[in-house]
Symmetry: C2
Subunit: 243 residues, 2 copies
DNA sequence: CGGAATCTTGATACTGGTCAACTAGAGTGG
DNA sequence: CCACTCTAGTTGACCAGTATCAAGATTCCG
C-alpha cells in the first residue's frame, strides 16, 4: 500500500488525525523506500551515529531514548503505526531508537529523501505537518510531567495506548502494553515502583483491569477521562477508596 | 535587515545555531511581512482564535501558555530574538502568546506565507528546520521536568537566559530576567515558593548573584554546568553547604 | 522444573507543595 | 518628598506524594 503519515492537518478543518499523503505521494515515496524489518530489541539507529535514513512505521512499536550525562537512559517518545522517526540534527541522530516488538518499516535513505522534499513542496509540507504534530505531543508531555501526579501520568499513558487502534487486540476490549514497566517509568518520569503501585491502584479502583503484564482493559472510561482532564484531586475518595 | 531564523541546521556540520535564511530568502519574506509592535502584557494571539499570522521576533521576549482543564495556566515556552511563533493546528492557534517585554516582530500573514512556502521548497525547508529545533527543545524540556530536581531545573532555566545574547546587559556580566517568578515557576514546573527558595540557595551558594528581581550574574560557571549536567546529587555538600 | 528477570508490595526518607506570615519594591496621591 | 498601599517576592512550618531501599511474588524461558 505504501508509506503513510497520520497527523492532524495544519490547515484542514479537522482536529482528528488523518492520512496526509495523497496516492501519488505515497507512490513517489515507495519509489525511494526500502522495507526493513527489526526483531524486538533491535536498534533502528543509535544516537551520535551519522543519520542515513528516516523510518515510517508499518507495524510494531519503537521507543527512542537519550542518554543523560550521568549515564541514565531516558525514554523520549514511543512511535506507532504511520509515525515518522529518525529526525536528526547536524547530520547525526540525536536519539537511539529501539524496537519494542518486531517492527516493519519503510526506510527512506536521506540522500534520496532530502532532494525529493526539496523538489516537492507539497510532500515536504506533509512531513512538516507531522513534525508540528510531534512538537505538540512533546509540549503536552512536558506539561504533564511538570504539573501532574502519578495517577494522571499513568492515565494519560494508558490513553495513549488506547488511541492506537493497532494496540487493540482483535476487536475485544483488551489493549496490549508492548513495553515493560521500566520503559513506562522512563517515559512518564516515575520510578518502576510508582508505576506498578499506580497501575494496581487504578486496577483496584475498578477504572482499569490489568490482564497480565502486557495487557489491560478500560473499565471506567468516565473516571479515566476525569483523571486525564486534570480535574480530579489526588484525595478524591470516590476514585481512590484504597488510598 | 529583514526576518531572521536561528536554529541548528539539519544537514550542515555545525551543532551551533546559525542564521538559516539566505539574503534572497529574507528579501522574499520582507515582501510579505508587516512590522508589528506589542507593549509588555499585550497578547500576540490567543488559543482557539483562528490563526492568521506567524511571527518572527526581532526584539523582546514572548511567552506562550495553554489553559489546563482545571483553569490553571501553564507556560509552554519562551520565545526570543529570531524565533518563530504562531504555529497552529487545524487552522487555530493552540496556545496563547503574551509579550513579556515590549516586543517587535515581523508578522507573516498565513494566507501569504503558506503559498510562499509551498512554492519555495528551500525556504520551507528552513522553517522545517526551525520546527525540528523547537521539537528537540520541547523534548529536552519534557526530560528535564520528568527527571530533574528543583536546582537542576532552575539552573537550566538560567542557562537558557544566558544563551541569549540579547538578555546580557551591555557587555557586563548581568543577565536580565524578563519574566516574573510565577512565569518561571509555570515553565519549570515548580511553585513560586520553590523557585524563590532555589534561586536564593544558588545565590547563597555563590553560584549566582541575584541583582534585584529581574537580573542575575553567573558567578561559578563550573558549578552551574555540573548542575546542568545532571551529575550532581542534591545532597552535594560542596554546592549546598547551606542545605 | 529451576533460575533469572520482571513485577509487586512494604517501610522509611526526602523533596517540593501548601498555607500563612512577613518583607521589599513600585506606584500613588497628599 | 514622604507616607500609604498593593503586588511580587521571600521565608518558615508542616504535610503529601514519590523516591529509595529491601523483600517477596510472578512470569518467562531454557
Amino acid at each position: 500500500m505504501g508509506p503513510a503519515i497520520y497527523a492532524i492537518p495544519l490547515c484542514g478543518g479537522t482536529t482528528a488525525p488523518r492520512q496526509l499523503l495523497s496516492f501519488e505521494e505515497r507512490r513517489k515515496l515507495s519509489h525511494i523506500a526500502l522495507i526493513r524489518r527489526f526483531e524486538a530489541g533491535a536498534f533502528l539507529f543509535r544516537e551520535t551515529e551519522q543519520a542515513t535514513e528516516i523510518f515510517n512505521i508499518v507495524a510494531g512499536v519503537v521507543k527512542t531514548t537519550t542518554t543523560l550525562a550521568d549515564g541514565r537512559q531516558s525514554t523520549v517518545a514511543f512511535f506507532f503505526n504511520h509515525d515518522l522517526l529518525g529526525m536528526f540534527e547536524a547530520g547525526y541522530y540525536s536519539q537511539t531508537a529501539e524496537a519494542l516488538t518486531s517492527v516493519t518499516t519503510y526506510s527512506f535513505p536521506i540522500d534520496s529523501l532530502v532532494p525529493l522534499l526539496r523538489k516537492d513542496p507539497d510532500l515536504q509540507f506533509h512531513f512538516f505537518s507531522k513534525v508540528l504534530d510531534e512538537l505538540r505531543v512533546a509540549q503536552r508531555q512536558a506539561l504533564v510531567l511538570g504539573r501532574f501526579g502519578a495517577a494522571q501520568r499513568i492515565a494519560l499513558f494508558l490513553d495513549l495506548l488506547d488511541r492506537h487502534p493497532e494496540m487493540h487486540r482483535s476487536g475485544g476490549p483488551s489493549i496490549s502494553i508492548p513495553m515493560d514497566r521500566s520503559d513506562i517509568a522512563d517515559y512518564v518520569g516515575l520510578t518502576v515502583e510508582s508505576v506498578s503501585r499506580t497501575l494496581q491502584r487504578l486496577h483496584r479502583a475498578g477504572i482499569i483491569y490489568l490482564d497480565g503484564r502486557h495487557a489491560f482493559e478500560i473499565r471506567d472510561r468516565v473516571a479515566l477521562d476525569r483523571l486525564i482532564g486534570g480535574t480530579v484531586a489526588a484525595d478524591d475518595q470516590t476514585l481512590f477508596p484504597a488510598l
